[in-house]
């Protein structure tokens, strides 16, 4: 990968490849999460992807993309540790399979989205603002409809300390949305453009120097990155287990558990943590899957996920409410079993094979590769090498010892109404 500094705080990363038919660009704007900025930036992303000054309607914008052989351009928000990220993405068929100039035109579309949004007299277009705010509000409201997602988020909230900014979702809260105006969003926009750390990734059949020449023309000012050197959220262990039960009109109850687990993305325990999670609940060969779902038939689903940017591990299950005590006991027993090294070498090898298969499959998916580079870059890591060897070298002792770091912190239960 070839890296360029376009300005202090603005980097361009180019990886040429002729393997794919499509070229991809990802532009990431990053700033620390605050109490208010996530809803504003979410709505901003929606506005940027809807229209621009040159393409003032969805139809005009869609026509411009059609003209580039069905190119795609979009924007969304997400979070990596403390860093709130607004990501603008674009992709188009390579010039070889279409016509000369497609890639350069794609860069121009991104320029229009980022530097020429539909702003007049210091405010976003009122009609577009109204429609898109309603769209975001509908999306936020519909989160509650997806019970599995909702329960996972409620567990995270319960796990985070009262004062933690992590309790605010990356897509924002409904009550923050109401405070936004077409003018306030313009402030959010200029603030992002002037102060965010910016990383631009280009992956495709391109010449790095030619890409540099295109992006060097962008009017980006120098800035000091607003991010701390370490973006990982490190919450200290607390002795009291936080428990919360909630009732809603659901048929299937949800029992979710959060464990303190201070292992972070690509640190010295990273690969052992992947294997440990695969054995506990991250794969079809896992203890949670085999013993809670299959053998005891206690759960419709049972799995675990690492939260490698916020020091915890989450377990999710869907159960019959009457089985709460039995299920909880059995889940906690699976954690204990992994801590005691109670798993076979065969299962560990199956887990490693599945992780390796997953990793290699990922190498065929260009969109995912680019997102991975972003995560590496935000964590100040070089792209991973020797992944397969690192996974193969993980030992049973390492897994069991690492599992001993798991300590229960929060239990969330979503129950049906009586």
């Amino acid at each position: 990968m070839v890296d360029f500094n376009l300005q202090p705080g603005v980097r361009l990363h180019v990886e040429p490849t002729s393997r794919f038919h499509v070229n991809r660009i990802l532009i990431n704007f990053a700033t620390p999460q605050t109490a208010e900025n996530s809803a504003a930036r979410n709505l901003l992303a929606n506005l940027l992807e809807t229209s621009t000054a040159a393409y003032p309607t969805q139809t005009a914008f869609a026509k411009a993309l059609n003209h580039l052989y069905g190119a795609d351009a979009s924007a969304s928000v997400s979070r990596i540790g403390y860093a709130h990220t607004l990501r603008v993405r674009a992709e188009a068929v390579d010039d070889r399979f279409a016509q000369p100039g497609i890639f350069a035109s794609l860069v121009d579309i991104l320029y229009q989205m980022i530097f020429r949004p539909l702003i007049t007299d210091g405010a976003f277009d009122a009609a577009t603002f109204k429609t898109q705010r309603q769209n975001v509000a509908n999306e936020l409201a519909s989160i509650k409809e997806n019970k599995q997602y909702y329960a996972a988020w409620q567990l995270d909230r319960l796990y985070y300390d009262q004062s933690s900014l992590m309790r605010i979702p990356s897509y924002g809260r409904l009550e923050d949305l109401d405070k936004l105006t077409p003018a306030s969003l313009v402030e959010t926009y200029y603030d992002m453009l002037a102060h965010d750390q910016i990383d631009i990734f280009v992956y495709g059949n391109v010449d790095p120097q030619a890409v540099l020449d295109l992006f060097r023309q962008w009017p980006l000012s120098p800035r000091q990155s607003p991010l701390p050197n370490d973006i990982y959220y490190r919450q200290p262990f607390h002795h009291r287990v936080r428990e919360l039960s909630e009732r809603q009109d659901v048929n299937q109850a949800k029992l979710n558990l959060a464990y303190h687990f201070p292992v972070f993305y690509r640190d010295e325990n990273y690969y052992a943590a992947l294997v440990m999670n695969g054995i506990l609940g991250g794969t079809p060969y896992s203890k949670l899957f085999a013993n809670v779902r299959e053998k005891a038939s206690l759960a419709y689903y049972a799995s675990s996920q690492l939260r490698l940017f916020s020091s915890h591990l989450a377990i999710q299950t869907g159960i019959d409410a009457k089985n709460y005590h039995q299920a909880r006991q059995l889940i906690e027993a699976q954690v204990k079993a992994v801590q005691q090294g109670d798993f076979s070498e065969t299962v560990m090898q199956e887990v490693k094979d599945a992780l390796i298969n997953q990793y290699q499959t990922g190498l065929d998916a260009p969109g995912g590769i680019v997102e991975h580079w972003l995560v590496d870059c935000m964590s100040n890591r070089l792209p991973a090498e020797n992944v397969i060897e690192s996974l193969q070298q993980v030992t049973k002792e390492q897994v069991a010892n690492l599992a001993k770091k798991l300590q229960l912190q929060a239990v969330y239960f979503l129950d049906g109404e009586e």
């Binding site: 393997r19 499509v22 969805q58 869609a62 052989y69 069905g70 068929v93 399979f97 769209n135 199956e350």
Partner: protein, 432 residues
């Protein structure tokens, strides 16, 4: 072995029909890590009346047999095929549609062993009264689950309007009543009729060595006994080929947040060969994109007046024996939506003329999206339509789409867009 070169995309397709009738198609992808293999049979939920292998009389089987068979193929006397794939590091899956049943895996290792597992489990049926009885509960739950899905109900409701006397208006999985009537002997009859190698094909895309894969498949097939290749005998599907039986309008009441409405258009064109079918398909796709996609004036007008929102969708599908277009949205203005769709279609020639200057861009966009699929082994494999399309691959479809001129869209309108074959189906929430 035949080789088809696509030098523009630097890709080759290899094809060979084995002695037992199985057609093997391979599309190697340089630099990829994953291999994707799909074994398909031309047997789907609409194939409910056929002459069973070794018999002379037509037999009508209960609805849902193809899907039931797919479920039961994985289970053997002493193991489950899913586990074999799992131990070999592969992900496996299966699907049943109206006209096909497909079994597939993806893997980055042990390709030879996984191919053997795929061919062996699909070519070795094991059905007993006990295992069949056990499956009825599981499939019954699946049908209940589909019944709760308003989008699926909307689509099936529309098929019921367009094909009221034909099997595609019934859920692919069958009904609670029909699956109760399925027995092991019925499954064996269906299996022996439709799972003959001559009625099947194997498609492999991604990381692969062509000679080696073919040798592995031939070795695997050589040790098995098959009767002389022959194709199944089934009844022609459509009971009224003139489509005089289309039901113009029906409503379903169901617990939905917002009303849903679908407009459907049934086609009755028949074709000489697969290439004609694909030409027809891409002409209609272009026509519909020009009249209805996000770049059209129709879309903007209906979006801005709240008749449609982001849930708006249109689709054309052609499968063995039938083809149709659907247009749907969630909306509080159901009549306005149906009227607008019907109006646009009735005025299709005039509407098309007003957007003639968009044709090249619309076609390029459609080509670009197809070319995009070339980066995905699973999409290449899943888009492969088999014998009904003369075994054309994605690369052939790109060539066909590229060959289409604006003037050909008038032919598509003439063949397909007939107001008397339009229908409306809607789902409304119960009145409080």
């Amino acid at each position: 072995m035949q080789q088809f070169k696509y030098s523009e995309f630097n890709q080759n397709v290899y094809q060979k029909q084995l002695d037992n009738g199985l057609l093997v198609t391979m599309l190697p992808m340089e630099g990829f890590h994953k291999t994707y293999a799909v074994l398909s049979t031309e047997f789907g939920s609409i194939d409910n009346t056929f002459v069973p292998d070794q018999k002379n009389e037509l037999l009508t089987v209960p609805d849902g047999v193809a899907h039931f068979l797919e479920h039961k193929m994985f289970e053997k006397a002493d193991h489950d095929a899913f586990d074999l794939f799992g131990k070999l590091g592969a992900d496996a899956n299966a699907f049943t549609s109206f006209t096909q049943t497909r079994y597939l895996f993806s893997t980055t290792s042990h390709l030879h062993e996984n191919l053997d597992v795929l061919l062996d489990f699909v070519q070795d049926p094991y059905f007993t009264e006990q295992t069949v009885a056990k499956e009825k509960g599981i499939i019954g739950q699946e049908i209940t689950m589909y019944n709760d899905d308003p989008s699926w109900r909307l689509y099936l409701g529309m098929l019921g309007n367009l094909y009221p006397n034909d099997p595609m208006h019934i859920d692919i999985a069958g009904t609670q009543e029909s699956i109760q009537k399925i027995t092991a002997p019925i499954l064996y009859d269906a299996y022996r009729t439709f799972y003959q190698p001559a009625n099947m094909n194997l498609f492999v895309a991604g990381r692969l060595d062509v000679e080696q894969v073919l040798a592995w498949v031939e070795q695997n097939q050589a040790v098995k006994h098959f009767d002389a290749p022959k194709l199944p005998k089934r009844t022609a599907v459509i009971s009224d080929p003139t489509a005089n039986d289309v039901i113009p309008f029906r409503t379903l009441t169901m617990a939905v947040e917002r009303p849903k409405v679908m407009v459907g258009l049934r086609g009755i064109q028949s074709f000489e060969n697969g290439k004609e079918r694909l030409l027809y398909k891409w002409r209609i796709n272009l026509l519909l994109a020009m009249l209805f996609d996000e770049t059209s004036a129709n879309f903007l007008r209906l979006y801005d007046t709240g008749v449609i929102d982001d849930s708006f969708n249109y689709n054309f599908e052609i499968q063995r024996g039938f083809h149709l277009a659907t247009f749907s949205t969630d909306t509080d203005q159901m009549e306005q939506f149906a009227d607008a769709m019907i109006q646009i279609l009735k005025e299709a020639p005039e509407q098309l003329a007003t957007v003639k200057n968009q044709f090249e861009d619309v076609k390029h966009a459609m080509l670009g999206r197809l070319i995009n699929q070339l980066d995905s082994p699973e999409n290449i494999a899943m888009l492969y339509g088999g014998s009904y399309f003369d075994h054309a691959t994605l690369l052939d479809e790109i060539e066909i789409l590229r060959s289409i001129d604006y003037d050909e869209l008038a032919i598509a309108i003439d063949q397909f867009v007939k107001p008397e074959r339009l229908s409306v189906y809607q789902i409304v929430p119960p009145t409080k």
